[in-house]
């Protein structure tokens, strides 16, 4: 079982999938600080990435989340090919993208967590969204750890400017 739906009052946990989370993006700024900043906001499905231990011990008041995108819609927009989703993305071979499978019971389509679109959201806001029933499911252990490892790999990898030379 990849997903489970926790009770409404269950505390937030890593792997929680939450709908309609406000995501802000700065659009206008005044470097001199004389005018207020303008931000746009969108309501988006997100996945909680902060480690369970930090959430369980109330060590944080803010939560790192990744934006979830609908895989089919990315294919329709011709941003990704279905074969790429079926192949390397589903196999976890693309840094920064994590595939999540469809689940009809929880109304979840095939999805891609974009680990390059990270946001920091207040814990109390996410808790309130969960209590309102906007938590769709929770990615279960093993799958959740697999995702967390992919997240860690994305940001811990070190790329060389070019491969080492060889005379062989």
């Amino acid at each position: 079982m990849i997903y489970r739906l926790p009770p409404l009052n269950d505390p937030l946990d890593q792997g929680d999938i939450i709908d309609a989370c406000p995501i802000l993006e700065l659009t206008e700024y005044d470097l001199d600080g004389k005018r207020p900043l303008a931000s746009t906001y969108a309501l988006h499905r997100i996945l909680v990435l902060t480690q369970t231990c930090d959430l369980a011990n109330s060590k944080t008041s803010v939560v790192v989340v990744g934006v979830i995108l609908d895989a089919q819609s990315l294919v329709e927009q011709q941003m990704l090919k279905a074969a790429d989703i079926r192949g390397p993305i589903r196999a976890g071979r693309v840094y920064g993208w994590y595939f999540l499978p469809k689940n009809t019971e929880f109304g979840l389509p095939e999805m891609i967590v974009d680990l390059r679109q990270l946001q920091t959201v207040r814990l109390d806001l996410l808790t309130a969204l969960c209590q309102r029933g906007q938590r769709k499911a929770r990615v279960q252990p093993l799958f959740r750890e697999h995702l967390a490892k992919h997240f860690a790999d994305t940001y811990s990898r070190i790329g060389l400017p070019e491969p080492y030379e060889t005379e062989l």
């Binding site: 600080g33 931000s39 995108l69 990315l74 941003m79 196999a91 071979r93 693309v94 840094y95 790999d153």
Partner: protein, 90 residues
């Protein structure tokens, strides 16, 4: 010396195993093993499915549904982790 030994050994019908002889106050041990046939070196299998890839496109950002204005405010205080006191350290 090696040539001499080779000549001598070629005249003998040696079988795989170990021979011990005493010559001029020395213990001589001759180990006979079958010569390995030269097997070609096999290159490691290169499986493309094991190679990690870099994303080749930037995925779309969420579509905005509104605009908000933000005014200056002091930054949020950080979440201070529990720091063990000195007597709690190992």
């Amino acid at each position: 010396m090696n040539h001499v030994l080779t000549d001598v050994f070629q005249k003998l019908n040696l079988e795989p195993g170990t021979y011990h002889v005493h010559v001029n106050g020395y213990d001589v041990e001759i180990q006979v093993v079958k010569r390995k046939t030269g097997e070609p070196i096999v290159t490691a299998k290169y499986d493309e499915a094991d190679v990690m890839l870099e994303p080749w496109v930037e995925l779309p950002r969420p579509k905005p549904i509104g605009t908000v204005l933000a005014y200056p405010a002091p930054p949020r205080p950080p979440d201070i982790p529990e720091i063990p006191s000195e007597d709690e350290l190992p």
